[in-house]
Each structure stands twice: as C-alpha cells, then as structure tokens.
Symmetry: C2
Subunit: 387 residues, 2 copies
C-alpha cells in the first residue's frame, strides 16, 4: 500500500424526498446563488421547481442560467463568467449531471482567478480558491458531485481537458434517486459504463501492483453496478436499482478506491476524450467503444489482473491466465452489447480513416496527463481494435 | 437502499514517514495543544518524540498528559478537564489508539459544556461544540480516528457507554503503519477482531434487508483484514500487512459501510461493553468471546445472511441455509482460535455464575441504545453459549 492523503469534505444527503434540502443547505454559503442547469429535463420533470421553491423558502436570491449541454464547452463557461462579474453571486447551485457540475467547477475556479480559466486545464495555474458549490444530482455517472475534478471541452481546438483542486469539492450534494427515474435508457446505461470505467482505470492502471483491499472494493462496486444497470435496463422506474447505481457511481470516483494504489493512469478516458471532443458523442458511449479495445491491447501485455477481473466479476476461469483474461474481456464486451451501448466506432459513424486524427488529439491529452508512453502509434493501434 | 447523510470531514494522511506532519497540521487549529497519550509504548517506541519535535518545529506550545489505559475511564476525563480549565489549550493532539482518541473526544466535548460530561453518554445532552482534535494513530482497531464517536467507562458504576456528535470528527489523523509495527501480537489480533465486528454489526443488524453494495464492501474488507491479520500473526514486522489492516480498520467504522442500510444495532458491542466494564479485559478479546455466541443465537433465527457470510467470506456451502450458516459460524470461531484470541468466558477467568450480573449490566446499555428486545433473559442465553 502506498502513501496517500484522503480528505473528502463533501456532505452527501441521499434519498427520496431530499431535493428540498438544497435551500437550507445552500443558505449557509451566501444570500445570492447562481442556479446552473442543463438542457430541459430538470425543468420538464419538476426538479428545478422543487429547487427554486426551496431557495425561495429560505429567502435566497438567484440568477438562472440553463442550457448546459453534455460535453460542456468553454464558451459557455466564459459567458457565465461575464454574467458572474455583473451579478456577483455568493454560491453556485448546480442542478444536473456531470456536465452541469463540471461547468459549475470551472466557473467557481474562474471567478476567483484574474487570468484565463483555461489555464487550470492546461496546468498553467493551480486552483487555490473557488466559489462554494452545492448540487442536486440528476444523473448517476461522473461522481463530480463528490470529487474535486471537472472536464470541459475547448470547442475552438477540440481539447477535452480537466481541472482539479481541493477547493472544488461541492460543499453539499443532494442525491435523490427519484431525480434519475426519468433518465432515458441509453443515458442511464452510458452512466453505468462511465462509473465502471472510472473504477477500472484505477484497477488496471494503479501504481502499486498489490492492492487487495482496493481490488475487492472495485469488484464489489462493479458487480453491483452491473446488476443495478441490468434492472434499470428492464425497468427504468426501479427506485432501488436507481439508488444503488447512484451511490455506486459516486463512490466510483470520490477517492475511496484509489487511496493507496499509488496514483492511476486513465488511458481509456484519455482516448475517449478525443472521441467526444471531436464528434460530440456521449462520454459513456465513447467509453463503451474504447474499453474493449483498450482491454484487448493491455490484456495481452499483462494478463494477470485481467484474469482476476474475469474470475471475480464474471466468475470465469479458463485455466491459463491469458485464456481467462480473454474470456473476461469478451464477457465485458458482450455485457455492453446486451445493454445496447456501442462497442465499435462505426456504430457512432466514426470512419476508420479518422483514426489518425483521433490519435493525434488523444496524444495531446496524454502529454498533459504525463502518459507519453501512449504514443500516437500505440493509440492508433488501440483504436484499430475498435473498428 | 435507505435515505442517509454521509459527511466525514476528517483528513487522513496515510503512510510511512508521515508522523511529522502532525505539527504543521495541528498548527492550523491553535497555538497551544493538549498532548494526550497512553501508557508507555508511544514514548518507548519514539513516536512521542517525533510528535513533540514536530510540534516544536512549528512553534506550538503543549501540555503533556499521558497514562490513559485501555478501557479509558471517566475519572481521567474529569481530571484532564480540570487541567484544561487551568491551561486553556486550543487543540488536542491524541497519540494512541481508540482509548486515547476516545478520551480526547470526551475532553473536547466536555471542555465546551458547562454541565457534567457524562450527560453526553447518558443521552441527556447533545454534542454541539468541541475543541478540535488531531491524532497520530498507533493501533489499528477502533476507527475513532475517522469517526465522531467515543467510548468511556464510568468506573464508579461500571457503565461503558458512548458519546457521539459531528463536532467530534478529528480534523486530521496521521495513519503511519510504522507506528503499529511494535504492537504486541495479541493486541494486534484484538484490533483485527474489533474491526471485523464493527463491520459485522452493520452486516447482520442493518435496518434494510437488501444492501448488496454494502454487503460486498463489508465482505471485501473482512477478507482483507483476515488475510492481513494472518500475515501479522506470523510476522509482526510485515509493513504491507500492517498498512492494509490499518486502512481497513479505519474504513470499518467511518460511516462508509453503514450508509444506506437504515441504521444498525450493535448487539455484540452491547454485550462486550459489559465484559470490559466489569472485568477490564481488552475490548477485542471480549468481542472474540461474544461474537461466536451471538452468531449461534442469531444464526438460528435468521440463517440467510449467515449463509451468505459463509459462502462469500469462507467459501463454504453446505447445501441448506442452516447448515451453511452453521459452517460459517464454526469457521469464524476456528479462525479466532487460530489467531489465539479467547472464545470462551473461562479463558479470561469469568465464571459462569457471573452471567446474571453481566446480563444486567449489558441490559442497561441495551436500554440506552434502544434495544430493549435484548432482554436480560436473552442476553443470559447468549452468554451461556460462550461458556
């Protein structure tokens, strides 16, 4: 076990009927809020109304700012920062999934920084201060509701990069599974895939070769997510399955499973960011395409951990390490097909001829993340396994 | 999954060489510290010296106060509260295991309360304010380093009761596994048993009958603790095993595995507290005696969860639920015997004739904890299974 610091101060209020807690909880951080939300679902399904009534009940003022799309963009962040400077709210209330919360984090850091907010994403500046954020989560996937990172796409140069910093932990996140009952089936499945890949990045790419506790936590979370996702696939209104998926997704990237593993690389995310930056496909869909391809590449190089994954998650043992590893990777790909998420580039209309361009884009992020051993050539090789 | 609030603000600094972080971390909370420690081991093994040098390096003043024994007593808390009022330190630095940290919590709450600190333990008062606490952990067991509870024995009436309150989360806890390398074998094993029973109380006694995620987290933690304890039993100097046990024990009662299970009863602890209150035996030794007895009682009433425990932790399946449940309970008792902790009252010289007195004492705590269905008769029946 490697040395680590674990400090996650986010307060989680979990369960049905908890959405109206957002007003009193937010009131602790100021008198005027910036209320961020996405396209239209939070309004359509009455979540936004519950939030504004709750803010009103405690006498909070707010400025509304909706329309954040998935794969949120830097242009939107710049626009809201202008609004911020005019309106000077004290606190940000983010109502949505990872896209909305990540946008909130970029604004929260940018509002306390005199330079260009993109500096944080290029590692030219460090987040030392941020406006407090509270959230009402509406999609189980990113864990942004309980971590200090966020991803934004610079739409001008198609860079999908991330910022991080301990001031960005949300102060409070309301996780009411009822708010996810209306998420369409495909997006629910993308969320489940995203959560599983967060767990697998650390599992397969941790710095310590021995991490028995973290392995078991990851395996337990993945099995639970797969079971819950299967139930949601069949019956989207299953509250218990929604609740299990929601809490698993939060624990999937809140620091718990990576504490002690000596840091982890995120190669699947590195490649996926290129896909969603260029083609604007859903992040989870990109991960469901990239993950079997990356596993085939990495499983050949070091089959032991993949064999463990096969045995413990899929209950498969084919005798040899390599055969067992292959069986698990195949089972993973088959599971993705069963929940009807794409597993090939062609399924989202990305032609093989674009692989060079995608690899160049991904390599840009590999450099920012200190993963230069993923050369353009290797990335291309992996992408070719997704054709 | 039931509704819950999860908010654990303790900062964990984990790993070898981290002890000297205590000075700079504590300096954030004041200029004068009360330095609490136990009998002699922290001094003997040079841990205390590292702590005081680190406090000195950042210019902190401190008042030393050692001698806390295991099963810490109210009389000591009263005495230190007197000292507190004279010296007025800003912060408490607790160097030790659960006994020292629990004592720190009682003092932290008592120093901000005009009444009798025992009121918190009898549920006559609620902890709304506390002096900040930082800790350097020297024993993997109680998880007090990352939770908001503490247990103290009122030696006058042999009540071993607990206090709780969110102001009691330590601000920072240093978990350096090197500091546990010198813990004697028996106390190391008692610590492992304590950590496992914390996990099992929620596993067997949660309010929600369906908790697939929490079950898997608990099972993964228990298997890891058992493996690590076995390695420590054979080779006390095994750093990695010490590290794994240390972090597992912290996660064993920091709120993670009980979030969403709808609250949990702690019947094994309720009965054990009577044993260590009356006979002053180590808490973990009391739990290793009580746990097989309680499992035999509870496993008969509802074998399903015990059968799951057998299958998943011990890889045992005997066909029927009852036979599988019995096999797991037997395997648990055999494991305890293998690590040489007591499994019968006679092994710690408690005569069968004392059972009535012990049951009366335990029932007092059952009432405080709202578990009156554990009548004196039932408690006696369970204790008779430990003869």
């Amino acid at each position: 076990m490697r040395n680590f610091v674990f400090h996650n101060p986010t307060k989680i209020i979990f369960g049905q009927g908890q959405t109206p807690c957002i007003g009193p909880e937010t009131a602790a951080y100021g008198r005027k809020a910036l209320l961020l939300f996405g396209q239209n679902s939070a309004r359509k399904h009455g979540i936004l109304k519950q939030v504004t009534e709750s803010l009103e009940a405690v006498g909070l003022e707010w400025v509304e700012c909706g329309g954040i799309k998935s794969n949120p963009i830097l242009g939107f962040v710049y626009a809201v920062l202008e609004l911020w400077r005019r309106e000077k709210p004290d606190v940000i209330v983010a109502v949505g999934g990872g896209s909305v919360i990540d946008t909130a984090k970029a604004i929260a850091a940018g509002a306390c920084y005199p330079g260009d907010v993109w500096d944080f994403f290029c590692r030219k500046a460090v987040v030392t201060q941020a406006i407090p954020i509270t959230t009402v989560l509406t999609l189980a996937a990113s864990a942004s509701e309980m971590n200090c990172g966020g991803v934004i796409t610079n739409e001008k140069n198609q860079q999908k990069y991330n910022l991080m910093g301990s001031p960005l932990y949300p102060k409070v996140s309301i996780l009411d599974p009822v708010n996810t009952l209306t998420v369409p089936r495909n997006y629910s499945m993308y969320g489940a895939v995203d959560a599983i890949i967060h767990l697998l990045e650390g599992y397969f790419n941790g710095g310590d070769r021995r991490s028995p506790l973290q392995d078991r936590l990851v395996e337990g979370l993945i099995i639970t997510i797969m079971e819950a996702a299967g139930r949601i696939f069949r019956r989207p209104q299953d509250y218990t399955a929604r609740a299990e998926l929601m809490w698993c997704a939060t624990l999937g990237l809140n620091g718990l499973t990576t504490a002690g593993i000596g840091g982890a690389e995120f190669p699947m995310h590195m490649m996926e960011h290129a896909l969603s930056a260029i083609y604007d496909i859903p992040h989870g869909a990109g991960l469901s395409i990239i993950s079997p391809a990356w596993m085939k590449y990495a499983g050949r190089k070091s089959p032991a951990k993949f064999a463990q994954f096969s045995r413990r998650v899929f209950n498969l043992d084919k005798g040899s390490l390599t055969a067992t590893a292959r069986a698990g990777i195949k089972a993973w790909e088959q599971w993705l097909a069963r929940i009807k998420v794409p597993v090939r580039l062609a399924e989202v209309d990305i032609p093989k001829s674009d692989i060079g361009k995608i690899a160049q884009n991904a390599y840009g992020l590999a450099r920012v993340w200190g993963m230069k051993h993923y050369s353009v050539k290797i990335i291309s090789k992996i992408l070719n396994l997704a054709v």
